[in-house]
Amino acid sequence: MPAKFTPKVVTANALLEGDVVYLTARDEWSRRLSDAKVLTDEADAQIRLIDASARASEVVGVYLADVATTDAGPKPTHFREDFRTRGPSNYAHGKQVEAL
């Protein structure tokens, strides 16, 4: 039996600013993970990944990142993805600034 498909979001870096973005249900790029559409079906996730990867004039490095679904929306399951939602830990120079 293949491994069970875990919930995912489509994520990338914005072409112009380089910062982390997530794909929303309306196929727009958002800076916030909470806006991201959570994908629970593998075939659907693959199609959205391929479509998003074709948007080369908007983003760079598109991939699927694992998330956990919670009442407060999707949450990262790996520390790397957690840092990507916030920014560096030595200065509040990333998304931490906006989150305040």
Partner: protein, 557 residues
């Protein structure tokens, strides 16, 4: 200092214009990312975790005050008001926007700087002893050699698609401050018995996944043969080096797989062919470059003000004792400015700090600054009489930390706070160790101790050659830190040995404390440094301190 010729200026301007057009074509969609990526990397532009990063070459770590001021201007105008000085004597800007990068490159060109060959499979920025031209123990200034190599290697048509990156370091002093044994090629300037100048050529050193100490391929290469010999080495590797597996592509693996004697024979054969192609132009060029590095006009002055402050001001005295080194000119000193204030990010300087350092170089330092591979800034030529004024000025902006070579003078790579390749963070580990030892007030008692931290196996933080090396890994989705002990980055270079299993993020600082406590209790007296104690007592007491007796018994069983 070397000044651009008309050719250099035109070359950099043309590259910048090309890159500006490439950025435009990327933004308007006519270039895909796959097409654009190699172009941006050729110009030092990376995409990291949260933003782009622009890596600017500071050739052999030397810059003047106008260049430092321009870096400050760039930090303010297009970045977030700071820059990160790196172990490769470069500066990195962590937050540029793609559209702004061409303007940043033009601003760099105004002060004869660029980002060419700071990335990609080319011959990278040549690094050199940061005390070059100033050190009391120096045979000759290595920077003219480094500049010659830079001119030869920049845009060298044969070497734009090498199997992998290629790094060269040069030292002119027997005390190796340029880590020559951990580079693809390390050059040590030496004299033979007849007194002729030449090089000891070391090949196949490197860190990363497979750390190796370089081996001597030629113990005396006459000065005039340098470029044909280097060209022979790089071209032998260019053909033999493995392109099927990037983990086996560096010259260290080629030397390891073929054996030093085989490589030497091939290099000699190639050298014999190439030597006649270098018709002496390189030597004319070298003579011209040497003139550009003529020593500044040192003055003879009374060192009275220095002696007075040294006798009466304990804070100044502590700073001099740890941050000031012997200069070859009488009355002069080399002053190191620590970018490691306790708790700060190693290697970072704000634009205000950059401007202050530029002002001090202009006023007291013959207009010269250096970036050290240990991520500090050096004022190489300061008269001792001026040191009290320099120190007082540095204090105003948090730049007077007296910790060079101490436990808080940590090399740390950007790690997972910035780097897309990282498997764990390194900056906060450095910050916490420094903060902890500042609280304990043990730093001076501990003395010389190099901690070096990398956030992944690539080893940008030189952890293999740290007295205490820390490597951040991802173990089943949590940060885990492996420790090595006994590494050495000097002329007696050695790769550190692993202590055993790694430590979780919140266990790593206590683990370092147990290692340091073990050193303090094992050393014969305060004069026996950490590395000497480790070499004498070996790994066992440190292992016991880290893992307890149970672990040791389990191993023995």
């Amino acid at each position: 200092m070397y000044r651009y010729t008309d050719f250099d200026t035109a070359f950099v301007a043309e590259r910048n214009a090309q890159f500006r057009a490439q950025v435009e074509r990327r933004i308007d969609g006519s270039l895909t990312e796959d097409e654009f990526k190699p172009l941006r990397l050729m110009n030092g532009l990376y995409l990291q975790l949260h933003a782009y990063m622009l890596r600017v070459a500071v050739p052999y770590g030397t810059l003047n005050s106008a260049q430092m001021r321009q870096l400050a201007m760039i930090a303010d105008r297009w970045d977030k008001g700071y820059g990160h000085f790196t172990t490769r004597q470069n500066i990195q800007f962590n937050w540029p926007k793609l559209r702004d990068v061409p303007d940043m490159l033009d601003a760099l060109a105004e002060v004869q700087m660029h980002a060419i060959q700071t990335s990609g499979n080319t011959i990278r920025n040549v690094t050199a002893d940061h005390f070059a031209g100033a050190a009391a123990d120096e045979i000759a200034d290595p920077r003219p050699v480094a500049e010659l190599i830079r001119q030869w290697s920049t845009d060298h048509p044969e070497f734009q698609f090498l199997p992998r990156k290629f790094k060269v370091a040069v030292t002119g002093s027997p005390n190796d401050r340029a880590v020559t044994k951990a580079h693809d090629i390390g050059l040590r300037m030496v004299r033979n018995d007849a007194g002729d100048a030449g090089f000891e050529v070391i090949v196949g050193g490197g860190l990363g996944r497979t750390p190796m100490i370089g081996k001597i391929i030629n113990s005396f290469l006459p000065e005039a043969d340098l470029l044909p010999y280097l060209e022979a080495i790089v071209s032998v590797w260019n053909l033999l080096g493995r392109r099927d597996n990037k983990y086996k592509s560096r010259i260290k693996i080629t030397v390891h797989e073929h054996g030093l004697d085989d490589i030497r024979a091939r290099v000699e054969e190639r050298f014999a062919l190439l030597k006649s192609a270098f018709t002496g132009i390189d030597q004319q060029l070298y003579a011209g470059i040497k003139a550009d590095f003529a020593p500044p006009a040192f003055s003879t002055r009374d060192t009275g003000p220095f002696d007075l402050s040294y006798a009466n001001d304990p804070v100044f005295r502590a700073w001099v004792d740890s941050n000031v080194n012997a200069h070859r000119a009488p009355g002069y000193a080399i002053a190191q400015i620590s970018l490691k204030a306790h708790g700060a990010t190693p290697g970072d300087a704000t634009s205000d700090q950059m401007r202050l350092m530029a002002d001090l170089a202009a006023q007291y330092g013959h207009d010269e600054l250096r970036v050290s591979h240990e991520q500090n800034i050096v004022l190489p030529h300061v008269h001792k009489a001026d040191l009290p004024a320099v120190h007082a000025a540095l204090k105003t902006l948090g730049l007077a930390t007296a910790n060079i070579g101490k436990i808080s003078d940590i090399i740390a790579c950007p790690g997972m706070d910035y780097c897309a390749l990282a498997t764990a963070r390194s900056i906060p580990v450095a910050q916490e160790i420094a903060t902890r030892y500042n609280e304990l007030k043990l730093e001076n008692d501990i003395g010389d101790l190099k901690i070096k931290i990398s956030g992944c196996i690539n080893a940008c933080g030189h952890h293999h050659v740290g007295h205490i090396g820390i490597l951040g890994l991802d173990r089943a989705g949590v940060e885990n830190y492996q420790i090595t002990l006994g590494g050495d980055h000097t002329e007696t270079a050695q790769v550190g040995q692993r202590t055993g299993p790694g430590f979780a993020y919140d266990e790593i600082v206590p683990a370092v404390e147990r290692i340091v406590d073990t050193y303090l209790s094992e050393r014969t007296d305060a004069d026996e440094t950490f590395i000497d104690t480790f070499r004498r007592v070996g790994m066992t007491p440190f292992k016991t301190a880290l893992y307890g007796e149970a672990e040791k018994r389990a191993k023995a069983a």
